[in-house]
Each structure stands twice: as structure tokens, then as C-alpha cells.
């Protein structure tokens, strides 16, 4: 299949494969995204592997309570991602790989993310000035 040519070029694409809840890879990516966005630039994250589970609608907005402080809600990763997508609409994008999602039964994602087949990875890389690949899956 020929690569689809996108109309815009993003400043940065992060391909994130390292699983969440294991290292601080997602934390570092969110921090980097914040810094790029504060510089009025654009950044897109292609979420692979178990990162596809972070944006499932079923996870809701808040995590199960900290039993030491149940009155203080803690946002889910999905809520954090949605917050970035809303605050920086047009400059931040979160793509969920449909192959990884299917492999993990990660369905019903929040509306703000984009679903994309892994057959479009090359096109997505081509649509960024810089690709940062984070392995560790």
C-alpha cells in the first residue's frame, strides 16, 4: 500500500513502546511534550503496546482512591492525555496503534485520540521533522 501523504508536518513524533506502570517512560514523554508545547511547537505521540490501554474510556477520569487520602482525586493517565489534547488542540496529538489495541483488547478509546493502523507508521514518521523512538516493549 502506498504511504499516505499527510498535509501537515509535525515538529516531533514520539513512538512510545515502553509499557506504562513499569518505568517512568510515559512520565518523561509527558514532560517533554509539555516543554515542546510551551515553545509553541507541535508534538504527536504514537502509543504502542500497553500504552494503548491508557486511553480507554472505561478507565474514567479518576484513579481508584488513595486510601490514605480518599478526598483527593488523582487523575487517570487518560485524563492527563485528554487534558493535553484539549489544552493544546491542533498542536498535540495522541495516536493509538490499532494493532496493539487489538492484541490487548483495548477498545472504546476516548474521543480525543486518533486510531491508526500500524500500516500507516511510515507515513506518520514521514509527517514529522523529528522522530523519537522509545523502545522497551
Amino acid at each position: 500500500m502506498a504511504a499516505t501523504v499527510e498535509r501537515r508536518t509535525w515538529d516531533v513524533l514520539v513512538v512510545l513502546t515502553a509499557p506504562p506502570h513499569t518505568t517512568d517512560a510515559l512520565t518523561t514523554v509527558l514532560r517533554l511534550a509539555q516543554a515542546v508545547l510551551e515553545r509553541e511547537r507541535t508534538i504527536r505521540v504514537w502509543a504502542c503496546g500497553y500504552n494503548t490501554m491508557l486511553t480507554q474510556s472505561s478507565l474514567g477520569e479518576t484513579k481508584p482512591a488513595d486510601l490514605r487520602d480518599p478526598a483527593t482525586p488523582a487523575p487517570t493517565a487518560g485524563a492527563l492525555i485528554r487534558g493535553l489534547l484539549t489544552a493544546y488542540k491542533g498542536r498535540f496529538s495522541w495516536i493509538v496503534c490499532t494493532a496493539c489495541s487489538a492484541e490487548r483488547g483495548a477498545r472504546d478509546h476516548i474521543a480525543e485520540v486518533r486510531l491508526r493502523s500500524d500500516a500507516r507508521l511510515a507515513a506518520t514518521v514521514a509527517a514529522a521533522h523529528r522522530t523519537l523512538y522509545i523502545g522497551g516493549a
Binding site: T22, T23, D24, A74, T76, G83
Partner: protein
């Protein structure tokens, strides 16, 4: 009978796990299992340090996350409820912190020496 839990890796997803780190798990589940003594190794050794500032807040878009784990608070809570907390001296040395002051109630030693007491525990779990 008490369990011995060894935490040799911290920071397993600060943005997504937040307060729910291994030490939180020990705080929540230890009593249910009859008590847990804790060994801190690897990147978890700094949970034993006295005088550290609270964890920094993390800004993600419009959200300022203040619900990250506070390992030193957890260690204080575990000591307060009577758990034995040990921190690995070689682990501290790897960070140049072998002489850093520790939280009250934490014992600094080469934690491999504790293996001689593994038989005293109901189980030894690496978390």
C-alpha cells in the same frame, strides 16, 4: 508471621501510577498478611533519606499533579506502625549517599546479611 519484602526498583510509572507505588502497596496490604518488613535497594534507597524535600509537582497540560508517590512519607508510616525497614548500604553508596542521614527507625546495612534471617519470615517477596 511477617513477610520480608524487597523493593529494588522504584519509579514504575510516576504519571500513571502516581501514589500507588510498591510502598503504598505495602502500607495497604501488609497488615492483611500479618505484617511486612521492608528492604530498600536499587533506586528505592532514597526512600530512606531524611531531610529530602517533598516530591515535586508535575505539570501535564492544565493539570498540576500533586498525587505522585512520596516514598519517604510511606517509610515513615511503616516505621510508625512497627515495620522493620532496612536500606541497603551498597545501594546508598552507589549514589554517593552511604553517609546520608536516614529517617528515624531505618536501619542501614548490607542487606544481603538479612538472608541469614529469611527463614524467620513467612515468605520473601521481591516486589
Amino acid at each position: 508471621m511477617t513477610y520480608l519484602v524487597i523493593i529494588d526498583r522504584g519509579y514504575r510509572g510516576s504519571a500513571e501510577a502516581q501514589f500507588f507505588d510498591a510502598l503504598y502497596g505495602v502500607e495497604m496490604l501488609g497488615d492483611q498478611l500479618g505484617g511486612m518488613d521492608v528492604v530498600l535497594r536499587g533506586t528505592s534507597v532514597t526512600a530512606a533519606l531524611a531531610g529530602a524535600a517533598p516530591p515535586p509537582a508535575l505539570q501535564v497540560g492544565p493539570t498540576v499533579l500533586t498525587t505522585l508517590a512520596d516514598p519517604r512519607r510511606s517509610v515513615g508510616a511503616l516505621v510508625a506502625k512497627g515495620a522493620a525497614v532496612y536500606v541497603d548500604e551498597p545501594g546508598l553508596a552507589a549514589f554517593g549517599l552511604d553517609r546520608a542521614p536516614l529517617l528515624p527507625g531505618v536501619t542501614r546495612l548490607d542487606t544481603a546479611r538479612l538472608a541469614a534471617r529469611w527463614g524467620d519470615y513467612a515468605g520473601v517477596w521481591f516486589l
